[in-house]
């Protein structure tokens, strides 16, 4: 039975969270994610759930810490300046091995920046951001459907690995409307388990004087033990890297140009590929879906026979560092806009055409590095 509805990305993510069993949402208003809070505020009281508008993003993420530690599927959502504030709590959540979901609907920065869409939070969501050795599982939707599907998936991955998972969206994906189907979203979760915390035997549910203490903490002042905890957490991350890399490759197999882009930029690249056909330049798109773990092997494979790589981001180039780490034998170009400006297919196409013509003029396809 199909369940197609027309929804904004932010609302789709909120609805998906509810369908994935989330009954505890803690938020603080910030554009362009406010629809998530508004949706939760309307729906949660009707389904015996909790929507709480916290006094700050700092408080909201710490409420998530408490609720997740108590055994529940808990969520918060924000936009970039708010995520900067949440970083402290995220580090504690990661350090206490708690599962939770965070939605970051990215806007332009730095500082207060602007409310238009951007992708300039890549560093702060994939490279830690908070203190200490930890990782976030990061999913990057590029459609309203994926806003929903990935939010639900984020809950499953968070529970599976007892780790915070983040959905990295942006102001465009959050605000735009597309038809979506909730069939895939419901699949993973058993609704009878909403308030059954038995599969989280570590949660602070009260001992009932029947078991020993459950303790949620990140502190360990014994260096030998703390290092061991970190080693175990990194073994878990190795599992995540082994099992959860996700990506999509679109376009002809033996293209000249490989675009690497995620989220909204990936959609723009799809249009650019069409535009380039008129210029007789063949291009394909590699779209990382998990930004961490980064789909490195698949990227190497996708880049194998191309002449040039063009990374497209709504920033001054953040993911490009991960692309460079994985591709050393091809020229890597960058096309991006920032501040809330959107890269246009024509501008991206020009970078791709120039890249191919430089190679033709060189008469070679070997790259010595440094050109961009």
């Amino acid at each position: 039975m199909s369940d197609k509805v027309l929804m904004k990305g932010n609302e789709a993510a909120a609805e998906a969270a509810i369908r994935a069993g989330c009954r505890y949402f803690f938020g603080y208003p910030i554009t362009p994610q406010t629809e998530v809070s508004a949706y939760m505020a309307k729906k949660m009281p009707k389904i015996d759930g909790v929507f709480l508008q916290a006094e700050s993003e700092v408080a909201a993420i710490n409420m998530v810490f408490g609720a997740a530690g108590a055994g529940a599927r808990a969520m918060t959502s924000t936009s970039s300046p708010g995520f900067s504030l949440k970083q402290e709590g995220v580090s504690y959540i990661a350090g206490a091995d708690l599962p939770c979901v965070i939605l970051d609907v990215v806007r332009a920065g730095p500082g207060l920046g602007g409310i238009q869409a951007a992708q300039s939070d890549y560093f702060q969501v994939t490279k830690g951001g908070g203190h200490g050795d930890y990782r976030l599982i990061v999913l990057a939707p590029s459609t309203v459907q994926e806003m929903a599907t990935f939010t639900a998936l984020a809950f499953d991955l968070a529970d599976k690995y007892r780790n915070p998972a983040l959905v990295l969206s942006d102001g465009i994906l959050g605000q735009m409307m597309e038809p979506i189907d909730f069939d895939d979203v419901e699949a993973g979760f058993d609704p009878s388990k909403i308030r059954d915390f038995s599969d989280k035997p570590w949660a602070t549910t009260g001992t009932n004087c029947k078991r020993g203490q459950n303790l949620i903490k990140s502190i360990n002042t014994n260096p030998v033990e703390l290092e061991q905890e970190n080693i175990e957490r990194y073994a878990k991350y190795a599992e995540v890297e082994k099992n959860e890399k996700r990506c999509e490759t679109i376009g002809v197999e033996n293209a000249d140009v490989l675009f690497v882009a995620y989220g909204t930029s990936a959609r723009i690249c799809k249009n650019t590929i069409e535009l380039l056909k008129k210029e007789r330049v063949t291009a394909k798109l590699f779209r990382p879906i998990t930004l961490w773990p980064f789909p490195d092997d698949a990227l190497k494979l996708a880049a194998k026979n191309v002449k040039a790589v063009v990374v497209v981001e709504m920033s001054h180039g953040q993911m490009i560092e991960d692309v460079r780490l994985n591709i050393q034998d091809k020229p890597i170009y960058f096309s991006g806009r920032s501040g809330g400006m959107i890269p246009l297919p024509a501008d991206i196409a020009k970078v791709a055409i120039d890249a191919v013509s430089v190679i033709k003029n060189d008469g070679s396809n070997t790259y010595e590095g440094g050109r961009e």
Partner: protein, 278 residues
């Protein structure tokens, strides 16, 4: 023979890490006795702070979460919303509660969050080695007020019981001390009322307990008690600051007026003009 004294059941046998003569240990025992007396050990979830009491989970058998510095009331809120029938308390120092965690404290109080806060005011940052706290007295010498706290650069001590009692949300706010048998008895009684308030789902309760830090005050324990009585009590008067039945009006949203909801939806900015490029 009748047993007249025993260690509270909820306390573990682990020796505490507190300095000799520190009142944190005394207060732990009182909290433990109240938990025992109310028979809530199996239902209690504690939130430990960042401060000297960070390891208090080692001394209690009940479940615990260890919060970031100042965030215990927010963490407690998350736990309590998931388990409204359990008993959730935080235990926080004055740096934790009245400096870095002021916002979390004030807002948990004003929401009337049904939790209990045990607030340890020792006029100093104990754990980090004796710096000025928001509660440090005027003229008091600390590591970061080597010439004594003075108003023109460091302002004045903050009275949490006074401040929070101006809010509508809290149900019970009391300031106590543990320098004498009489005051210890009063602290025990006040904590009993505070926890009972939560058990009865009557809302936010906070007991501020004036405490000594002999190590960082640079005094032997008994002298510290004397100094507390002579100086701290004058700035932070003991007593009941608020005791009120709060009316938590609850709206039945299951049958809420859909028209009102529609109206609130239309009041926001119209973000539909932001369109996607492809």
């Amino acid at each position: 023979m009748e047993k007249v004294f025993s260690k509270p059941h909820v306390l573990t046998d682990t020796p505490t890490h507190y300095c000799p003569g520190c009142t944190h240990g005394v207060i732990h025992r009182i909290v433990a006795k109240v938990i025992d007396d109310l028979g809530i050990e199996g239902d209690t979830i504690g939130i430990s702070p960042v401060g000297c009491a960070v390891f208090m989970y080692n001394y209690f058998h009940c479940d615990f979460q260890q919060a970031a510095h100042g965030r215990a009331p927010a963490v407690a809120t998350g736990v309590k919303r998931v388990h409204p029938d359990k008993i959730v308390f935080t235990y926080q120092g004055d740096g934790d509660l009245a400096a870095i965690g002021t916002a979390e404290t004030v807002h948990a109080a004003t929401r009337g969050e049904n939790i209990t806060i045990v607030y340890i005011n020792n006029s100093i940052y104990g754990m980090t080695g004796g710096q000025m706290a928001p509660t440090t007295l005027m003229g008091q010498v600390t590591q970061t007020t080597p010439y004594g706290r003075e108003a023109s650069t460091q302002g004045f001590p903050i009275g949490i019981a006074e401040m929070l009692s101006t809010l509508e949300g809290p149900s019970y706010i009391k300031r106590c001390a543990v320098d004498s048998i009489k005051h210890i008895k009063d602290t025990e009684e006040s904590l009993r009322v505070a926890f009972q308030r939560q058990i009865d789902k009557k809302g936010f309760s906070l007991v501020e307990i004036l405490s000594t830090c002999p190590t960082n005050w640079g005094m032997p324990p008994l002298e510290a008690m004397e100094w507390e009585r002579e100086n701290v009590f004058k700035v932070f008067p003991l007593g009941l600051y608020k005791d009120k039945e709060i009316n938590f009006y609850h709206k039945d949203v299951a049958n809420a007026d859909e028209k009102a909801i529609k109206a609130s939806e239309n009041s926001g900015t119209d973000c539909d003009s932001i369109k996607e490029e492809d």
